[in-house]
């Protein structure tokens, strides 16, 4: 097998350059292309700290990771370790594509389910078995332009706290080439990621997706677009594009997550701040979205032990505390971030994370998500009423949930 021969060859090179005993190579595929992400230094540190395993990273474009993983599964040539977007993990696990880590976790000294934030941990569990370990967590809040608030006569120190306040503020701020608010309702996982918090805030739930509460939640978005507070282009905006319009001064508020902080700090030449997602006054339910990546080991990986050892290394205090430098929250409660950058945002997002609800976990999440994406877009483009759009979504989602409940 040539692949193995090449691996031997690269191991040989490593041997020649650094006197070490025969190392086992652990193939790691991940998506963190920013040079400052904690993973890069951690790989170096880990490789230097011991000589049993050598982490061999392959950085893949985000959209290609899943494609490449599927090819790897199809051909039986899987890497030893991958990072998975958390809503997808259980669908991979349920189809038998991931190694069961339950025993390894129970023997681990470092990885204790008790210390993890509930949402991220739950996204790894399928039928009481553990298939992954959270790498980082994120959630969303409302970035707002304080200068624009002042100009519009709004108090920049008390950002909108309820749906009504958000709607009114967006309306007041909109005008003259500026949108009141930007968010992402695109035909991809990002759309439901941003909308589901509103569903939960309204008291709705996935298993009753055409309930009056759900309709209210979708109608709230529809009203933002129809009133001119948000651009109809939200149906084609990725989250970073929504954030871009905010940074360029084309939107007074934007719903987005902590990963934008390094960029906003660099690009936004105005006074900005961050607020929690609003609540619906009559319900007063706090809810947010849970994002983030999990570590997982593809079924049939050659070096499960090496991969898991690296997961343990990546879950240490001295590694996880660096995640925040690129806006990644630690997924566990026992990690302290000393002297965090953007301290206020750190506090806000951490507070928001406590009410972050994972998507799924469900083996057929991609199909559920697709049905939601279609409903959101049908309503926002005026193709269907919010009620009709969600009725159609229910027709797809209900049978799936009847077969396998959440």
């Amino acid at each position: 097998m040539l692949r193995r021969r090449l691996l031997c060859a690269s191991a040989l090179v490593a041997c020649l350059s650094a006197p070490a005993t025969a190392q086992t190579t652990v193939d790691l595929w991940h998506v963190f292309n920013i040079e400052t992400d904690m993973i890069h230094q951690a790989i170096k540190d880990y490789n230097a700290s011991q000589d049993e395993y050598r982490i061999e990273p392959r950085v893949l474009p985000f959209v290609q990771l899943q494609t490449e993983l599927i090819k790897a599964v199809a051909t039986g040539d899987v890497p030893d370790l991958i990072t998975v977007d958390n809503p997808v993990l259980v669908s991979l696990a349920a189809q038998g594509a991931l190694e069961d880590l339950t025993d390894l976790v129970s023997e681990s000294e470092n990885i204790d389910p008790e210390v993890y934030v509930e949402g991220p941990w739950r996204s790894n569990v399928w039928r009481d078995q553990i298939y992954g370990v959270p790498r980082d967590a994120n959630t969303i809040g409302v970035y707002y332009n304080k200068d624009m608030f002042r100009e519009a006569g709004l108090d920049p120190e008390s950002p909108p706290a309820t749906w009504d306040e958000l709607r009114d503020a967006a309306q007041t701020l909109a005008g003259d080439g500026v949108n009141g608010i930007a968010f992402s309702a695109i035909m991809s996982e990002e759309g439901p990621f941003q909308w589901l918090p509103f569903l939960y805030q309204a008291g709705g739930s996935l298993d009753n997706i055409n309930s009056p509460e759900a309709v209210e939640a979708l109608q709230f978005w529809v009203d933002l677009v129809e009133s001119g507070s948000a651009s109809p282009d939200v149906v084609n905006m990725r989250q970073y594009e929504a954030a871009n319009t905010f940074m360029a001064g084309n939107a007074a508020m934007a719903i987005s997550g902590p990963w934008e902080l390094p960029r906003i700090e660099q690009e936004a030449d105005f006074d900005w701040s961050l607020a929690l997602l609003p609540v619906k006054a009559d319900k007063n339910i706090r809810a947010s979205a849970l994002g983030g990546y999990n570590w997982a080991i593809p079924a049939g990986a050659e070096n499960v032990d090496g991969a898991f050892e690296f997961i343990e290394f990546m879950s240490r205090q001295d590694v996880l505390q660096n995640g925040w430098d690129t806006g990644r929250l630690p997924p566990r409660t026992d990690i302290t971030v000393p002297d965090p950058r953007w301290p206020e945002a750190f506090a806000t997002f951490n507070e928001q994370l406590q009410t972050a609800i994972p998507r799924g976990p469900h083996p057929r999440w991609p199909e559920i998500s697709k049905a939601l994406q279609i409903a959101i877009q049908e309503a926002l483009t005026g193709r269907k009423s919010a009620q009709d759009a969600l009725d159609s979504a229910a027709a797809t989602i209900n049978p799936i949930l009847q077969e396998t409940p959440l």
Partner: protein
């Protein structure tokens, strides 16, 4: 049409045509201009309203980053290796095949054509997995050869379909004459037919080169080691999970496209001289 104005002196008509031509090209290539200037913009200026025709806070940082990264040279070199090899293989197989198609009188030619056309219609994204299996069995994963062999399946169909009518235009009579003079089929192909079609072959070769130069899916799948990857895969490294560094994408794309565009423009002259030397007269 050229025939309407046999080309002595350009005069007023020439200047008018040139001006209109420049306007056409300028309008058409506006998005390309946008690519170049976006490479100099900051990411918030890219999304500024109203759009800026020229970077206001121009920054060279993307280009500095590109050129101080040794990887960029490596990416371009890999692209070049893959593109040149694919072009060579495609032109050899394509010319032979197209010549045969233009000379054999049999239904088999139709069958061959349909086969070739149909086989290139699957989107690569779906072919990539089975291709991976093939090249793993051949022991060619992580070699440029695998990418060249796979990419040629994309370019060969094009070459055959387009070269066939070009070869068909070479009159049989010319070859007949060569045969009477005792030339073999190979000699006739090399000495009589090929010189007459070399313009068309050159165009097809150049286009094949560009197609292979931009190939993305096959290298991504067949090469797992970053040091073997060509530039189109490298460009994607700036498109992350949560955001993309568009000014770097544009800077890299500019560096990727410009040299080939220049070579292509020079090659145009070759094509022109090939024409004026009267190959077909």
């Amino acid at each position: 049409m050229s025939a309407t104005a046999p080309s002595e002196g350009f005069g007023l008509r020439g200047s008018t045509l040139t001006l209109i031509g420049i306007a056409l090209v300028g309008l058409y290539l506006f998005p390309v201009y946008w690519m170049y200037i976006s490479a100099f913009k900051t990411s918030s200026e890219i999304f500024a309203d109203p759009p800026t025709m020229f970077p206001e806070n121009g920054t060279l940082s993307s280009f500095v980053w590109i050129f101080t990264q040794e990887h960029v040279g490596r990416y371009l070199r890999n692209s070049l290796i893959i593109a040149v090899s694919t072009m060579a293989l495609t032109i050899v197989l394509g010319s032979l095949g197209a010549y045969a198609m233009s000379r054999i009188r049999s239904r088999a030619v139709d069958v061959a054509l349909v086969t070739v056309v149909v086989l290139q219609t699957f989107p690569e994204a779906l072919l990539a997995t089975p291709m991976f299996v093939i090249f793993r069995e051949l022991g060619l994963l992580n070699t440029h050869l695998a990418v060249v062999l796979a990419t040629t399946t994309k370019t060969l169909g094009f070459a055959l379909v387009f070269l066939r009518p070009i070869f068909a235009q070479v009159p049989f009579a010319l070859e007949e004459a060569a045969f009477i003079d005792g030339a073999s089929r190979l000699q006739s192909f090399r000495l009589v037919v090929f010189p007459m079609v070399r313009v068309g072959v050159l165009v097809v070769a150049a286009l094949t080169f560009v197609m292979a130069y931009g190939e993305f899916v096959y290298p991504l799948t067949l090469l797992t080691r970053a040091e073997l990857q060509p530039a189109p895969v490298g460009i994607y490294q700036f498109v992350g999970a949560e955001y993309a560094d568009w000014h770097r994408v544009m800077a890299f794309a500019s560096v990727f496209v410009t040299p080939v565009l220049l070579i292509f423009l020079l090659l145009q002259r070759r094509i022109v001289s090939g024409l004026t030397s009267g190959a077909l007269k």
